[in-house]
Amino acid sequence: MTEHPSLLAVEGICKSFIGFKALDSVDFAVRPGEIHALLGENGAGKSTLIKVLTGVHQPDSGVIKIDGQPVSVRDTQHAQNLGIGTVYQEVNLLPDMSVADNLFIGRQPMRFGFVNRKLMEKSARELLTQYDLHLDVSSDLSRYSVAVQQLVAIARAVDMSGRVLILDEPTASLDRHETEILFAILRKLRSRGLGIVFITHFLDQVYEICDRVTVLRNGKLAGSALTTELPKIELVSLMLGRTLAVATHNTRRDRPAPEIRQFSFKGLGRSRSIAPFDLDIGEGEVVGMAGLLGSGRTETAKVLFGIDAADTGQIHIDGDPVLIRTPQDAVACGFGLCPEDRKSDGIIGDLSVRENICLALQAHRGWFNRLSTHEQTVLADKFVKAFDIRTTDIEKPVKFLSGGNQQKVILARWLATNPRLLILDEPTRGIDVGAHAEIIALIHQLCDDGMALLVISSEIDEIVAYSSRVVVLRDRAHRGEISGDDIVPANIMRMIAAEPERASA
């Protein structure tokens, strides 16, 4: 297969957004008749690469080649004309229009200046028959399941472009059977000589269907290899890598386990989100949560915090049963959560540092018991000093702070309410190395102060550095727990990469 020239290749692609390098001289090539997996954690640069390939973004430097000829992709339509078809993660179709419209919009067959519906629907039926889909093409797309919509999107992309097909997480919302159907079609398309780029976070699927793997990490190419030559454990280490320069020595795991663990979650779960799990956390303990993207890390945090109410299970705090159905319930129980995406879920960019810090405490006290400006200033000053939040002024809008300092503001917000259990989802993502170490020091300090912490991270070295225990997740379920001296990166990676218990069908 290697002797084939590349169908689509990028060389030395760089792309920066304000103050951060999303792609740093990345090379990537797709050959005809191969399914090429593109892997990486959130923020690794996958989406940016796809957007460069499809003309949504223009690269700062580097070349895109099709059949060895350099091209510049102007926009999505140009990409389609060049033969690059894309199916985005959220099926980007028009659910309120008919299946035929969805397949042919923008290129409907015309007769006498009008759309020739009859011909369009006939062509739509013929097109879908190739995919063994027999739909009523005149009815609305929204009548069909997500899987069928996905296939319709693929049919459209292949019919329009027909050379390279890019699939962004196509299986994220499909069940096993639907995934099988999709894979059968992908194999058929591969044998027709298409180059397929397959983005996923399900490693099993990579080994099931892909010929070649390319891994991105922090905007850089981490590695590329034939699937058959890359053991899973190496793939995992490529993805998670080692980014922390100095792993601080962890003394926490040498301490004896606390006798009583105040927070106990039994059989908590939510269908289609996270399998039921047990989790106990004691005060003065840091529980690390390791797993790949989509393994159920964030889902666990959401269930614990009541953002997605659990379907099953009980929660006990200090031995008393409590019910958490909403984030308000969780806050009332003394929980705090720093969400994964601080830009959209965490900070309120236009409010000042002071206002952001005081938000949660104000909400906690109720709107009628207003914090006076003086109290707010004192509080904000205290945290700005304690955490060394670098800002010229506590009245400065938070959006002007660096990522690390924004993260500290969110931490301060929750700490102002004196939580007993603090859940941190990817607290160090997208912040520089210095701030990184400070956040980790802060986690240690909070833990020493007797707080219970649950920290989710995709950086294994970091988890190793602060955890008392580590829970490993895979395929939307908690798969095991490591404690004491077993907490070493190799063990965690082995658990993440372990074969699924169920035989893959």
């Binding site: 999505t76 339509q77 389609q80 894309t86 985005y88 980007n92 179709l93 028009l94 659910p95 309120d96 229009m97 419209d101 969805n102 919009i105 923008g106 290129r107 409907q108 015309m110 200046g113 009008f114 759309v115 519906r117 889909l133 739909l135 009815s139 609305d140 929204s142 009548r143 069909y144 399941s145 899987a147 069928v148 459209r156 329009m160 059977h177 639907e178």
Partner: protein, 325 residues
């Protein structure tokens, strides 16, 4: 059954019931005279509502409609009465200006990414202000061509008159229906209203479509202004205040989703007729205040918005539980 059609059926049912109630109380209302007048009296509203249907289908709004109607009326009056220009030429001038006006609002909405509400609100003030720049008086239009057009009608059996402007409205509705369902532009409008991002990724020319939609709304508002001018034989700066809201009401009562992407031009026609029937009823009754039209329209609007929300919720629930094909 297609839940999409449910609001349309509901509108049709309400229209028939309303008419039946009217006829039951005032048997005189069951005549071609009333039917003919219904079309004539609401001709300008209907024509503007076709434009509004497309705007709302695309997920936008056009608040400038009423002002553009008044602007056209005043412009025609000034051109014909003060400058002695032939009405046909004046019509052409008015349509060119209103179409360009609509297109530029569309361009601002698309390229500057300003919400349609704000842009067309500015357009509304601008057009209304331009009326007062031209004149503050009510200018009558006395031209033999006007008299000729006003005298054009087809005598229906039973003595009703299908007037020129009534026919024009029916024609525009027919044109609107054909365009919505049988032209590329029509499918683009639904696509942009359904999901703008998707439409863009699927290669729909969003810029052209958006500008086209507002240009068309401008054109149809201009045409409605011409019809209004023929209907009243005058141009007055304060005419047609709030007509845009009546057209929005007609569109929503006609079953078009305010969020865009779903709806029918034919529904808007029924929406216009329902408003006309209520007004006719009030005229027949003679004791009711004409504000009752607004009250009934308000109640209808509320119930239709509630109905739409309900249907959207039901259909999303159904999709969620839908199994494999």
């Amino acid at each position: 059954m297609n839940t999409r059609l449910l609001p349309l059926y509901a509108t049709l049912l309400i229209c028939i019931i309303a008419y039946a109630v009217c006829v039951f109380q005032f048997p005189m209302m069951f005549s071609t005279r009333v039917a003919g007048n219904l079309l004539t009296d609401n001709a300008f509203l209907g024509i503007a509502a076709v434009g509004m249907t497309f705007v709302i289908l695309s997920g936008g709004i056009d608040l400038s409609v009423g002002s553009v109607i008044a602007f056209t009326g005043v412009l025609l009056a000034v051109l014909i009465t003060h400058y002695g220009i032939h009405p046909l030429i004046a019509f052409a001038i008015a349509l060119v200006i209103t179409t360009a006006f609509g297109a530029s609002m569309g361009a601002v909405i698309h390229y500057l990414e300003v919400p349609a509400f704000i842009v067309t609100l500015a357009g509304m003030f601008l057009a209304r202000g331009m009326c007062f720049v031209m004149t503050t008086d009510s200018i009558p239009v006395n031209h033999q061509f006007y008299t000729y057009l006003q005298g054009l009608y087809y005598l229906l059996p039973g003595g009703g008159r299908l007037t020129f402007i009534g026919c024009l409205m029916l024609l525009i509705f027919a044109f609107g229906i054909v365009m919505a369902h049988f032209s590329k532009f029509g499918s683009y409008i639904y696509a942009v209203g359904g999901n703008r991002t998707s439409a863009e990724l699927m290669g729909v020319p969003v810029a052209k479509t958006t500008i086209g939609i507002y240009a068309m709304s401008g054109f149809l508002s201009g045409l409605a202004g011409i019809v209004f001018s023929l209907y009243t034989s005058a141009g007055y700066s304060l005419a047609a205040v709030g007509v845009e809201l009546d057209t929005i009401a007609a569109v929503v009562i006609g079953g078009t989703l305010l969020t865009g992407g779903v709806g029918y031009v034919a529904g808007t026609f029924i929406g216009v007729i329902i408003q006309g029937i209520i007004q006719t009823y009030i005229v027949f009754d003679g004791t009711l205040s004409s504000w009752w039209t607004k009250i009934v329209v308000g109640i209808l609007l509320f119930s239709f918005i509630a109905l739409q929300r309900l249907l959207v919720l039901l259909s999303s629930k159904r999709t969620a539980t839908l199994t494999k094909p």
